[in-house]
Symmetry: C2
Subunit: 714 residues, 2 copies
């Protein structure tokens, strides 16, 4: 009885509250649910002092040890202890839904739910923790009902723990309030601290917070038994982005939110809730890739008409600037004031890519090869001093350079059934973008643009804000909603990492939010980069990775640039299958594609929307092989990517419809291909195959292969 | 020669720069100019180390001792020393201009100018200091031409000194980044430190910065000879608001700018300039009041059409909420989410003032008595939890409460030739206001509103910003420009103090930016308050002081409120003359005015725009008597206000046109009137007068008088 008494005094004694024993006993009782297939078991226990904890097992083995739940609040009692369970609700949910675009035609949303209503007697407050246990993992969130004694509150820190069972292998990025554009480090968690410094490579805007802080999605593999774990969040809206702070003695990860300008980590008003915290679990790596848990935890879209949202395959006036072959800016002036420059009177630099004649060439190429659209960057005034100046009025988003004729190009593109993709670089000057948003979208509607690539390069202006704080999260969603009002699709670069929001906002057709192909021109990505991204960044949603670079030596475009693409040409093809996105760019220059039209055929053929997806092989950091069935068609496409070791892939084609004959066109690395030494050596061969066929295929170091499978006679 | 060598080494030696001696010698030479009437002399000297300084004399006596000039920059060499004079330019300017509205019909802008181009050899930078010496004082500013070695820079602090000649009497407010709503303290500068704590009274948003920090406009009176000095700034645009930090040993005031969320004090891009720093000087207090120096230092308006800008006399649904008699909100809910409340289904509180029927009563009253407009606060949804919550989406500015019929009231008011004044309280949530600005102004255009009262009560959201930082200064001007595009006049409350910007933006017809009449219901203003404001706050521009409170006991409206107006009823009339504004409210309730229609006649009669203005008597903190001639008419109006001592005013009416006869209607305190004990006792008498008449008039403690002078037979 002494222990009970101490327990009581521990969290209520100071306030002289005498509690009913039944509440205390309920606190000690474990609440459990199982996943529909019974492989996962969740257990929730109020520990001493009324501290809520949860733990998770998979096939009877512990996955997460008891981890604490709660939030530390500012200037008031925290929501971390002193809780009793006031109510427990269980339910089962099973429903299928069809995404507007996606990897599969139909998604099953099947879970068992446990909702605990926790009351904090000391403060007369109520907090609900809602758990959803799927076959592929766990989602849970905090809910704060409307209540008298909790109306407005400020989060000092969220205190959600993910208590691992030991020192796992991790695929991690440095935790950072402003960027995810780091190379993934593969190491044990115990090595994070030692490798952090080297992992933090320079970026246009960055703010790390700890030697053991890492980002989500965090991919983990348990050393002893090969169990795979993935930790992320779903439905990040009007809340601060979560990072993970590692306790590298106990291997407990704890939530670390992004602070605002005064260090607060969220201003909330009841009724409200946190995003979902997600843990995907399987002993098969492939299951992590096919999990739809994050999407399922997002709300269905409220858009009544989604007919204007369409997957897009595009080329663009982009890579030539990224390589340094040409420029975004029309002149070489520095330090300009947007409204006081008369561009018609200043000397052009002669390197401006986004000029009418040149854009027409891209439009011609797009039309000839069946692309939907041409992205044009550098079309608008202001690029002379857009970067790194913390400049407020940096762009107006409606004024073209004098050599870019908007109506003429609109007419030209429309005549060829090609769309031009708008580009809104904000340079992080967010108020300026919001001030111009209406007029910018009206301009797009007027001139026939239906998609925009947004950019947030550099520090957020005004300073003090971070790319991932609540204020900015709110901004990105504001842009999505405004865009939807104008029937505009959005591809957000340097914005917050996706959390499955495209279910709710299907006009969010792309995001960057990781180290994309552009870094191949800035020193290069690791050869295993694309064998990891599907397990990390892509768990939240599609990435505008911009693959398709055939000329892997950047010096071919810019003699001053010694970078090279850390991939064989053939693997660039495979990425259209392995890096799922409804928005896919053929990023290289038309002049280059014209030299390799046989390989280019795969990019022309490959679908960007799918009825079905199979993971044929997968191991994070080593290799991934996908097969996907084109939307509404019988064709399949296979892509395989491997790391710098190279390998031989063995797959069988049982995913094909039994009894049907297919022509397989196999785009393969040449025997002597190598991502660095001989990247552009490839072979193309055709085979007749059926669902009974098996394939053994060599992948060069940093290579892979791509296959189109077209029903014979089609 | 040793001294010269040391001087050279002091600021350039480390960089091994060898300077031409001629530059050094030029640094020691004083540059001088005189005011057009030769009473003021400015002297500019580069002191040792190339530190620019300036000093000022008036009628041969020092006014400002040598004070340093310059700016401290962030992460680079400061612009405070190491200067040489590269060029000196002088010119004389003399021009008259007519304000869109004002105290006089024509304003003379007459000054001698000295512009020093200073070069900083160490950095290869150029800064220009431009001085304009008027008969009534000095203005100067920093200019930063476009140059290679100074493009973007961040101000750490502006280091402008105002080196007083001793311990002056000061009329000061605590320096604060967020509010000017303090009672003025009258004390010697040496007493500021000791009286600061008591001076900092609570406010909805406040951030003081020092025990000796004070605000501008700062009114000073030299103890030994009664010289008057006023320090302020003019043309504050895209720069941080200036406060003054007092060195109370040496009586040097130094500029202290308002920091942003990360502590920076301004992000500038060349070409650019600081606002003007202004020093008005005279041995007559009246000259301070009639100075047009601050207006003259602002740029002429760029508006081509100003026909839509008109002075406004108005009543409003306002004082009844300020007193607590009724409410802004329609219900008594707390904690609402704007888009999820269905106001049609919730219970009204029955105290909501802005309902259609009641607003019609105000419209009737306005129409009957010749007012131009009716302000209506509390018309829109969101007032239930608008305040103090740091709430982001607090108002949408377009959705009326269900009992406020916008089209019906539009029609009703239009039928009576009365305008309704829009109210946009932002609750400091600035991004939210900007997001809704276009739709809010479109709404106003649609429903016939041509003026808006804006409000910024509480901390700026997102936190970290300050009401007076550069970001907010930029915001207020953005609103002015957007409003002008919609032909909307703006009356900004809780915004930054005005700096004569109404010359450039004549649609800025009012500002609060000081402790207004509302404080009479929140505990009261000092009885001498209105004898000081014209010397301080009004130096920057008109104030929406909202006078005209006849029922001085607030308890008459709300038994719980023990506050009282620290003024006699008659002085409330005088304020329409002494507190210049093109926007004047009759703030009390129609039911009260109906009881005192004889006194109310003055408010009906008094003009709000003027052809001429005379200060008949003035001493800051004691009394002010103004005479003003109505725009385009022969009538004059006189107002006199005095402090808690009471006094007898002796004026002559020589300002009247000689040879003409006028009927003077004199609204005077009764003999036993007293602002606290007997405030509502008044007498009205009529006299026939001419320009040769003299008047002796008793003013009760906290009282005054008001006179209308109408040409006989008119």
């Amino acid at each position: 009885m002494n222990k009970l008494r101490n327990l009581l005094l521990g969290w209520s004694g100071r306030h002289g509250v005498l509690l009913f024993c039944c509440l205390v006993w309920s606190a000690a009782r474990a609440e459990e649910i199982q996943s529909p297939n019974k492989q996962l078991t969740l257990s929730v226990v109020l520990q001493e002092g009324g501290v809520p904890t949860y733990s998770l097992t998979y096939k009877g083995k512990p996955v997460l040890k008891p981890g604490k739940l709660g939030l530390e609040l500012k200037n008031t009692t925290s929501l971390t202890s002193g809780f009793s369970v006031a109510n427990t609700q269980r339910r089962t949910f099973d429903e299928s839904w069809q995404p507007v675009w996606g990897e599969v035609k139909t998604i099953r949303n099947h879970y068992n739910e446990l909702a605990l209503t926790l009351t904090q007697a000391q403060t007369n407050r109520t907090m609900l923790v809602r758990f959803r246990l799927f076959d592929d993992g766990l989602g849970f969130r905090y809910e704060f009902p409307r209540q008298k004694d909790l109306d407005y509150f400020t989060v000092k820190e969220e205190k959600t723990q993910f208590a691992l069972t030991g020192d796992h292998k991790a695929f991690w990025l440095p935790g950072d309030y402003d960027t995810q554009e780091y190379s993934t480090v593969t190491s044990n968690l115990s090595e994070v601290r030692g490798r952090m410094k080297a992992a933090v490579t320079p970026n246009a805007s960055q703010k790390t917070f700890s030697d053991t802080g890492v980002q989500t999605p965090l991919m983990l593999k348990r050393n002893q038994d090969g169990l795979y774990l993935n930790i992320h969040e779903a439905a990040l809206m009007d809340y601060s982005t979560m990072h993970l702070e590692l306790d590298d003695k106990n291997f407990v990860l704890e939530s670390h939110l992004t602070p605002d300008a005064v260090g607060d980590k969220g201003n909330l008003q009841t009724p409200c809730q946190s995003p979902w915290r997600t843990v995907i679990v399987s002993d098969k790596a492939a299951d992590i890739l096919t999990s739809k848990l994050v999407l399922n935890l997002n709300e269905p879209t409220k858009f009544k008409d989604v007919s204007w949202i369409k997957p897009v395959k595009y080329v663009g006036v982009w890579w030539e600037m990224i390589t340094g072959k040409s420029t975004w800016s029309y002149t070489n002036m520095d330090n300009i004031k947007l409204d006081s420059v008369d561009y018609k009177t200043v000397k052009p630099n002669g390197t401006h890519a986004a000029n009418t004649a040149h854009v027409k060439e891209y439009i011609d190429f797009a039309a000839k090869h069946g692309f939907d659209a041409v992205l044009v960057e550098g079309w608008n005034t202001g690029w002379e001093d857009w970067f790194g100046k913390h400049k407020d009025y940096v762009f107006d988003f409606v004024t073209p350079y004098p050599d870019f004729n908007v109506p003429e190009l609109q007419q030209y593109a429309a005549g060829k059934n090609v769309k031009i993709i708008m580009h809104h670089e904000t340079s992080g000057s967010v108020r300026n973008y919001e001030r111009h948003l209406d007029s910018a979208f009206q301009f797009m509607n007027k001139y026939g643009y239906n998609a925009v690539k947004t950019g947030y390069v550099g520090d957020i202006v005004p300073l003090g804000h971070r790319h991932y704080d609540q204020w900015m999260v709110n901004h990105y969603n504001f842009v999505l909603e405004k865009a939807a009002q104008h029937k505009i699709m959005v591809n957000g670069h340097e914005a917050v990492r996706p959390t499955g929001l495209s279910r709710t906002y299907p006009n969010l057709i792309g995001n960057e939010a990781a180290r994309g192909t552009e870094y191949e021109s800035f020193g290069g990505n690791n050869a295993d980069h694309t064998t990891i991204l599907p397990f990390t960044r892509l768990i939240g949603g599609p990435m505008d990775y911009t693959p398709g670079i055939f000329q892997t030596r950047i010096s071919a475009y810019n003699p001053q640039n010694n970078s090279f693409v850390h991939s064989t040409l053939v693997r660039q093809l495979a990425l259209y299958v392995t890096m799922y996105s409804p928005l896919q760019m053929a990023a290289d220059l038309p002049e280059t594609y014209n030299k390799y039209l046989d390989a280019f055929q795969f990019i022309k053929d490959v679908a960007v929307d799918w009825d079905d997806t199979k993971v044929l092989e997968a191991e994070p950091g080593d290799y991934i092989t996908y097969a996907r069935k084109a939307k509404g068609k019988s064709s399949w496409f296979v892509g395989s990517t491997c790391d710098e070791q190279g390998r031989t892939s063995k797959i069988n084609l049982s995913f094909l419809e039994p009894g049907k004959k297919y022509v397989a066109t196999i785009y393969a690395d040449a025997k002597d291909a190598h991502y660095e030494k001989n990247p552009m050596a490839y072979q193309i061969r055709k085979l007749n195959v059926t669902s009974k066929s098996k394939l053994t295929q060599y992948c060069a170091p940093g290579g892979g292969y791509a296959i189109s499978l077209v029903e014979a006679g089609r």
